[in-house]
């Protein structure tokens, strides 16, 4: 395992630890305002300084790890739970079901980048739940496409015929026989999509249409610090670097998993 992957794993474990046990670290309240203590540079009292409302930046970053990971895993779960059955049905039944489903997937994929998520947020309004759904819908076609392709190649196999001969119903075949076989590739895609989902969530929050402004999500913290960045660059450098390091770690581990577990994807890695 290369050193970069090991370091990335350490970073991910730390982030996971902060997300789970952050509240037990006895840091200052991430929501506690104290105008008298506003816009302080990093010091022994506030290790990363304070923001324009006097809230401790370190506490907000730690609390933000929980929100960012929640958005990442939440969105990927939405994409998995909706996208995988969709793709499996298309791949399993083929014919007109496949034609219709494949067309819908193509059209969902034809919305470039964050446009689909922006469109959903425009409809539902801001808020963390809406954000998770919006980003989840963005990942849905990716999971649908992978599970469709994998199912398509599995449904001709002997064990599927055997299951059918034993009298399994179609949904039993899909759930008990096909799903376990496509779980590997799906997990690889999921690990890479988690990074993408966190990034899209942070982007929408940065644009002010994601979580509500007081929520300490990393993108929202960055957006809140923007007006003050000329005099107090730590307000944008801290959340920006946190986000960048997290992205780097997740991408490196995702790429490594893909190369190790699924040689077919290696070509796609350029």
């Amino acid at each position: 395992m290369p050193i970069s992957v090991k370091m990335s794993l350490v970073i991910i474990v730390i982030l996971g630890f902060l997300a789970l046990f952050g509240p037990m670290l006895h840091l200052p309240d991430p929501y506690g305002q104290n105008i008298a203590n506003a816009l302080q540079l990093p010091s022994s009292k506030n290790w990363l300084g304070t923001d324009q409302l006097g809230r401790d930046l370190l506490s907000r970053i730690v609390a933000g790890s929980r929100f960012s990971l929640l958005i990442g895993f939440g969105a990927v779960s939405v994409g998995l739970f909706l996208g995988v059955p969709f793709g499996m049905l298309a791949g399993f039944y083929g014919r007109w079901v496949d034609t219709v489903f494949a067309r819908v997937i193509d059209i969902l994929l034809s919305f470039p980048g964050i446009i689909l998520a922006l469109a959903v947020v425009a409809v539902t309004g801001p808020g963390i739940g809406n954000l998770i759904v919006a980003v989840g819908l963005r990942t849905l076609p990716v999971f649908a496409r992978v599970s469709r392709a994998e199912t398509l190649s599995l449904r001709q196999r002997d064990f599927v015929d055997a299951a059918r001969a034993l009298g399994c119903r179609p949904y039993e075949i899909m759930y008990w026989h096909i799903l376990p076989n496509i779980a590997g590739p799906l997990m690889i895609v999921a690990s890479l999509q988690t990074a993408t989902a966190i990034l899209i969530g942070a982007t929408l929050s940065f644009l002010g249409v994601g979580v509500s402004p007081e929520v300490p999500e990393w993108g929202a913290i960055l957006n809140a610090g923007r007006p003050y960045m000329m005099g107090y660059p730590h307000l944008v450098i801290v959340p920006g670097c946190t986000l960048m390091i997290a992205m780097m770690a997740l991408n490196i581990v995702g790429d490594y998993l893909r190369d190790r577990l699924d040689p077919r994807f290696t070509m796609a890695k350029f």
Partner: protein, 307 residues
């Protein structure tokens, strides 16, 4: 042959357009709350609301509304902005060219710089130049667009004061936004050019060209690059989606007067006719760019079957 292919691909745009317009229409109808209430204000009497509903055609069945909406689309009528009371197509039209300017500049920078860096890295794999491009690529892929943009503003706008950080007009205004928007795509294109060029270098016909005494420059440009460029160009098309998302964010950071900034403003003001028009515009723009890339792809590589 190629003309027939282009014609058929243009025909494919028609169903795409209908389905996209239907999705956008349905999506906007899902917005909670009464749009009439939003226009008229909460103090209006029921009579005024009813009158407005009739004037906007919102009292008719949904299928009927969709037909009216489609008819409007063909006449270029996208409705009226709730915020500025201007026709939506004027709002979009005024800003469209700025966005195309920024996206085109970004795409050009990422193709030009990306391919150059990729070629330099492929010449001597493993040397310092290769390591340097690897570092740029890792930064480009991992750094969120808005963070790169803010870093550029801090470094080149505030600290060294080299370039303007907001607005548009001169070529200097374009430098920072275009650099930011190109960075992610640049990273991918660099890695891809490097990888496919290294692969092509090992092919027999390149060895033959070398053995015949062709100059290194001729071997790279004439023999290798033409084959090696297919993959980066395909990716450039896919990258356009990423670029467009980048443009939305970057226009907001650099106060660039394009349709991305307009979309964010429209979402914040819940200006649904503008949102509707813009999403359709973005999706169609994306479809057209993909078409252009597919055609370029066929022109560059005659081996690709046009069916």
């Amino acid at each position: 042959m190629i003309l027939r292919y282009i014609g058929r691909r243009l025909l494919y745009l028609i169903p795409t357009f209908f389905i996209l317009s239907f999705i956008v229409f349905t999506l906007v109808r899902l917005i909670p709350g009464d749009p009439v209430m939003a226009i008229a204000g909460p103090d209006s009497t029921p009579e005024v609301l009813q009158e407005m509903r009739e004037a906007l055609g919102l009292d008719r069945p949904v299928a009927n509304q969709y037909l009216v909406y489609l008819k409007g689309l063909f006449k270029g009528d996208l409705g009226t902005s709730l915020r500025t009371h201007q026709p939506v197509w004027i709002e979009i039209g005024l800003r469209f060219s700025s966005t195309v300017e920024l996206a085109a500049a970004g795409m050009m920078v990422s193709l030009f710089v990306g391919i150059t860096l990729g070629v330099l890295a492929a010449l001597r794999p493993g040397n310092w130049l290769d390591a340097f491009t690897r570092l740029i690529s890792l930064f480009g892929v991992s750094s969120p667009t808005f963070w790169t943009g803010l870093l550029f503003v801090l470094a080149f706008g505030y600290y060294w004061r080299l370039f303007p950080i907001a607005g548009s007009g001169t070529i200097w205004h374009l430098v920072l936004p275009a650099a930011t928007v190109s960075l992610t795509s640049l990273a991918f294109i660099t890695r891809l050019t490097r990888a496919s060029l290294i692969e092509v270098f090992s092919q027999d016909y390149v060895q033959t060209a070398r053995a015949k005494g062709a100059s290194p420059v001729r071997v790279i440009i004439h023999h290798s690059l033409q084959n090696a460029l297919i993959a980066p160009l395909t990716v450039a098309g896919l990258e356009f989606g990423r670029l467009v998302s980048g443009v939305i964010v970057i226009e907001t950071i650099f106060a660039w007067p394009g349709i991305g900034k307009l979309l964010i403003e429209a979402i914040q003001f819940r200006d649904w006719p503008v949102i509707q028009g813009l999403i359709l515009t973005f999706a169609l723009l994306f479809a057209v760019v993909n078409l252009i890339v597919d055609i370029l792809y066929a022109v560059i590589d005659p081996r690709i079957r046009l069916d």
